[in-house]
């Protein structure tokens, strides 16, 4: 232990060097961008090496942060001078940043390694690694930023990178459309974030989070923000917080902007893993956790009509329940996982809303591992089954793909919240406890509990359909285990998915304590609040049991056979399968509105403005005729004579244009002499 302590002391990363964590993947991206196509080994190697180095640096940063968990280590610097004062950016190192950095770099590293195998046959894999590195760099930038502006810049870079990666196979129309959809949908939320940021800068004059008492997350600024009210009696901090939350809604795929997330499955599977586990969706949750003091500033105010966090809690609850419901009826392996991500993110938002941001981050960390595991497992399945993603056409993969099956099952159990051994159980439990303890409303708690049942149910369905029974298609029949570059990351993630939960069990909530900046851990017995835990265990058992009863026992015989649920309630199932019609709804409302506006603008342009211009043109024509008449008859005579004489003079002067350089030089020399002489004469007088 002594050696470990010494080692940890050795491994410190001063905060002013924090940028290295993000800069290394960026450098790798730059090298990848310059590498020719055939240098794929180089690009992959550089990307992985940069990620590994970043991981080591993140570990050092974690050691630094844990040495003084309560402190927010910052390094601020002036970016440029606006005239009113310098615009300052900075790096921030606290346990939140450090834990997130370690998670992102570790999961990212494993995903990169997996990608080497998965993208082996792709001709553009150097570009792929370049984009992935940009993605990782941008996400790390979000994490280490100590300024909302810097965070926003990296945030947008994340968006850009996700756009590039979702549309990586841009020759597929679906992928191109999905990329656009993701970009535009998240942009809607980012508009809110941008407005919130501007408002914040307008009210406080700074965008730094922590700045020796002057930052926006410190008491002085928060006090000022809560003191003012705006439209509808809202506190300014509430309004800003809600606007910032808009960005999180877009990025984290919360209701009602969740529609892009399932479509984003069109990208390569490692991208999905990266988006859904480590980087993009985590950014929204991280953002809310980062600005938590701002969001929570209005909690003490009794007179405001609504608290920002209440909105967060309800949005999260709705998303959690809705995502879980839709996931039940999906047939694409990746889409099931995508909606489960939506649902789990809803959980995290729920936790944030009910006041336990540490539980949200805990769930974020564990979720990152098991969701990356599930996605990579799905990728392994897809890779083995020749890009067959429909679970109805898979089946029976348990035999040929033992490693994948085992790790996928671990991921499934972690996601379902199988008690005690798996990390998902502990983090979900923390969230449910927080929801239980919330005195705002009990609806979020019920939504969460319902989602627990559904989660266990659809995950059981997924595993049963994919891995058990007999292969239901040619491709699934020929499946074989993936190469070690793909299975080793799976194993690594599986280990993480199991062990990570023990960092934050109620008996010894080390992670929570460190995140809150406490150096001592106050655990309590598991039996305290054991009722809720028992309830959730029962619910998980119920979900798995139902799944087992419906799918496991009566396995689908052919790919075309109807789903048992579909047979039972065709209407509900169809509605869920159609994702509750959100896309259609948006097409019918927002899309049609925009079409109508466009038609209106077109009509205005065509008829009103054009008519006016045509009228003006007629007027101009008429004036022209009149002026021509006057011109030709009255004025031209004199001008003709004048221009004739001008042309004559021009001809005369053009003789000086000999094209001979010497002549020009001579004239310059003589001109110079004359000039000097004139000046001297003038000076004499």
């Amino acid at each position: 232990m002594l050696e470990l302590g010494a080692f940890l002391r050795l491994m410190t990363l001063p905060v002013h060097l924090l940028w290295l964590i993000a800069a290394l993947p960026l450098l790798a991206a730059g090298i990848g961008a310059l590498t020719p196509r055939r240098g794929r080994a180089l690009a992959a190697g550089v990307a992985i090496a940069a990620m590994a180095l970043s991981f080591l640096l993140s570990c050092a940063a974690l050691a630094t942060a844990l040495a003084q968990p309560a402190a927010h280590l910052v390094h601020n610097f002036a970016w440029f001078d606006l005239g009113l004062g310098p615009l300052r950016l900075g790096w921030l190192l606290d346990p939140l940043t450090a834990f997130m950095c370690v998670m992102v770099t570790l999961v990212g590293l494993l995903i990169f390694v997996f990608s080497v195998g998965y993208m082996h046959a792709d001709a553009n894999s150097t570009r792929f690694f370049c984009f992935m590195s940009v993605f990782a760099a941008a996400m790390l930038g979000v994490l280490i930023a100590n300024s909302l502006l810097l965070l926003f810049v990296c945030w947008e870079l994340v968006g850009l990178a996700s756009y590039l990666l979702i549309g990586f196979w841009f020759h597929k129309p679906a992928a191109a459309a999905a990329a656009k959809k993701a970009f535009i949908t998240t942009r809607i939320g980012d508009l809110g974030l941008l407005l919130g940021m501007l408002w914040l800068y307008d009210s406080t004059g700074t965008l730094l989070f922590f700045d020796a008492g002057n930052g926006v997350l410190e008491a002085g600024a928060l006090g000022a923000l809560t003191a003012q009210t705006t439209i509808g009696g809202l506190a300014v901090s509430t309004a800003i917080g809600l606007l910032v939350f808009c960005g999180a809604i877009g990025k984290s795929g919360q209701f009602p902007l969740h529609v892009w997330l399932p479509d984003a499955m069109e990208g390569p599977t490692p991208v999905s893993a990266l988006i859904h586990a480590a980087t993009m969706v985590a950014a929204g949750v991280f953002l809310v956790a980062r600005v938590y003091p701002l969001m929570a500033a209005d909690q003490a105010l009794a007179h405001v009509p609504i608290h920002a966090l209440t909105v967060v809690a309800f949005i999260g609850a709705i998303t959690a329940l809705m995502g879980a419901m839709i996931a039940v009826a999906q047939n694409d392996i990746k889409r099931v996982l995508a909606f489960s991500t939506v649902s789990q993110l809803g959980y995290m938002m729920l936790a944030l809303g009910v006041g336990s941001w540490v539980a949200a981050i805990f769930h974020l960390l564990t979720h990152a591992f098991f969701k990356a595991l599930l996605f990579l497992g799905a990728g392994s399945v897809i890779h083995a089954a020749h890009h067959e993603q429909d679970i109805r056409r898979l089946g029976g993969l348990r035999g040929p793909m033992r490693t994948t099956f085992a790790t996928f099952a671990i991921g499934m159990m972690a996601l379902s919240g199988v008690p005690f051994l798996f990390s998902g159980f502990w983090s979900k439990e923390a969230i449910l406890h927080a929801a239980h303890a919330w005195n705002g409303s009990s609806l979020p708690l019920f939504a969460g509990l319902a989602a627990v049942v559904l989660t266990a149910f659809y995950m059981t369905r997924l595993v049963a359909e994919v891995f058990f029974g007999a292969p239901r298609s040619e491709a699934a029949g020929h499946a074989h285990e993936s190469p070690p570059t793909m299975t080793i990351p799976l194993i690594g993630l599986a280990v993480g998915a199991v062990l990570l939960g023990f960092l934050g069990t109620p008996a010894y909530p080390w992670l929570q304590a460190r995140l809150l900046g406490e150096t001592e851990v106050h655990g309590h017995s598991l039996l305290e609040g054991g009722g809720l835990m028992m309830l959730s265990i029962v619910l998980v058992a119920l979900g798995i049991g139902a799944g087992w009863a419906i799918y496991w026992r009566r396995l689908r015989a052919t790919a075309t056979a109807l789903d048992p649920l579909e047979r039972a309630t065709p209407r509900t199932f169809a509605a869920l399968a159609a994702r509750l019609g959100f896309d259609e709804l948006y097409a019918a409302t927002v899309g049609r509105l925009s079409n109508a506006t466009a038609a209106l603008a077109d009509a205005l342009d065509r008829h009103v403005w054009d008519g006016a211009i045509r009228f003006l043109a007629r007027l101009g024509e008429f004036t022209g005729v009149v002026s021509r008449e006057t011109d030709e008859d009255m004025l031209n005579g004199g001008f003709d004579a004048g221009s004739e004489s001008l042309r004559g003079t021009g001809k005369l002067y053009s003789r000086a244009q000999t094209g001979e350089t010497h002549g020009y030089l001579r004239v310059i020399a003589i001109g110079f002499v004359l000039l000097v002489l004139i000046v001297m004469m003038g000076g004499g007088q």
Partner: protein, 429 residues
């Protein structure tokens, strides 16, 4: 008469007195001072002061410079003589033959025999030659290639001239020698000579660039253009046994390698001796030269080689610094000489080993390989200089990044360089 004797004796007394006081001064100088410099270290300077000490102050620096010039001429003249012999002997041994061994023991008198032969040969000037330039070329070449020696610190105390911009001066002087080569080629009125001169110009201009770029990192890190300060910056040892020579850093190693390749080309040495490729151009710009003028060209080539090696030693190999602390008792100029000789032997070894390049390969190597590498090396050095305060595990990262920055481009560009060259298909063979 008496007055005269008195005056004489008075002046004699005075001069005696002066002589005595001078001797006292000398004795003071001989006594080891508080400085750590050993007697041997200071011996050359004291010897010089003993000679010029008689002169009045205004003349002394002039005499000192004169002595420095004479000393350089003598030392490097002798070095030139024996370098030719060494080259012939070593080449002979590498090619499994004895080399010159008839004149004196082991052929030790061979250079002097060669010298006499060169002096007594007929001096031929072609009828149509540009006589003035034909005469001026070898003279200018020798004179210009000697200029570079002025700023090389040969030892702790032995710097002919201390200049603020010494490195710049050195390369300015080196750049001027190209003119002399051109003069020789043009003045001969011989198409081979002219072709060779054009080739030489192209080659010298091409390699000037990597040569200049390769030492810029040194200037950057040392923060000075003065050779003495650059050598001083390389003093000291890490952990008591690793010298702070620039060649022992990643960028320094790369810079040194680029510098030596470019120096090979700049001094027209094999494998870059295209301007005097016998198989293609007879003897290049030397075709129409004979006798003593030819010997002068030869001399200038060796002087240039020595000067560039001396500069390489100064810039990268720590100059006169001893490699290990306990070896400091050996005078500094001995260390300088040892390093210089090692580099010169390297030159000879390379000549015996490598085949001559083709003209397009030559320019390609310079422009597509050495120049980009040198530019990247500049970046590496900048990184090195910016991260000088990294300690602990970061130092490993610093080394790693710098090493990758050096090795990576070398490997990548080395591949593209040999892409069209290495497995050659001969269309007509």
């Amino acid at each position: 008469m008496l007055q005269m004797t008195l005056a004489l004796s008075a002046s004699a007394c005075r001069s005696l007195l002066a002589g005595a006081s001078y001797l006292v001064e000398l004795a003071k100088a001989w006594r080891p001072a508080a400085s750590s410099d050993s007697l041997l270290e200071r011996a050359p300077v004291m010897l010089r002061d003993a000679v010029t000490g008689f002169l009045p102050e205004p003349w002394r620096w002039f005499a000192n410079s004169l002595i420095a010039i004479v000393a350089i001429l003598a030392v490097f003249g002798l070095l030139f003589a024996y370098l030719t012999l060494a080259e012939r002997k070593i080449l002979g041994r590498i090619q499994n033959r004895p080399g010159p061994n008839r004149t004196g023991w082991f052929g030790l008198l061979q250079p002097f025999a060669d010298g006499v032969k060169a002096l007594t040969k007929e001096d031929i000037v072609p009828a149509n030659a540009d006589r003035v330039l034909h005469f001026l070329a070898p003279v200018a070449l020798v004179a210009l290639s000697l200029l570079g020696f002025a700023v090389i610190p040969f030892g702790r105390q032995l710097v002919p001239i201390e200049l603020n911009a010494a490195v710049l001066y050195f390369f300015a002087a080196g750049a001027a020698t190209e003119l002399a080569v051109f003069m020789a080629g043009w003045a001969s009125h011989n198409k081979y000579s002219l072709l060779a001169a054009m080739r030489a110009l192209a080659q010298l201009i091409s390699y000037e660039l990597p040569l200049l770029l390769s030492f810029v990192p040194v200037v950057m890190l040392a923060g000075t253009l003065s050779t003495t300060e650059i050598v001083a910056a390389q003093g000291g040892w890490k952990w008591g046994f690793i010298p702070h020579w620039y060649v022992l850093t990643p960028w320094g190693f790369a810079g040194f390698a680029i510098f030596m390749v470019a120096a090979l080309a700049e001094s027209n040495r094999s494998p870059f001796d295209l301007p005097e490729a016998e198989s293609e151009l007879i003897a290049g710009h030397l075709t129409e030269y004979s006798g003593f003028k030819y010997a002068l060209f030869f001399m200038a080539e060796y002087f240039g080689m020595c000067a560039l090696s001396g500069m390489a030693v100064t810039l990268f190999l720590g100059g006169w610094q001893a490699p290990l602390p306990f070896l400091e008792f050996i005078p500094s100029y001995a260390w300088f000489a040892a390093k210089l000789l090692a580099l010169l032997l390297g030159f000879i070894w390379i000549r015996a080993t490598f085949p001559r390049l083709r003209m397009d390969q030559l320019t390609r190597l310079a422009w597509k390989f050495l120049v980009p590498l040198a530019l990247i090396n500049l970046g590496t050095a900048a990184f090195w200089s910016l991260t000088h305060d990294w300690a602990g595990p970061l130092q490993l990262a610093r080394w790693g990044v710098a090493a990758v920055l050096v090795v990576g481009p070398f490997v990548i560009m080395g591949r593209t360089l040999s892409a069209g060259v290495a497995p050659r298909k001969y269309r007509y063979a």
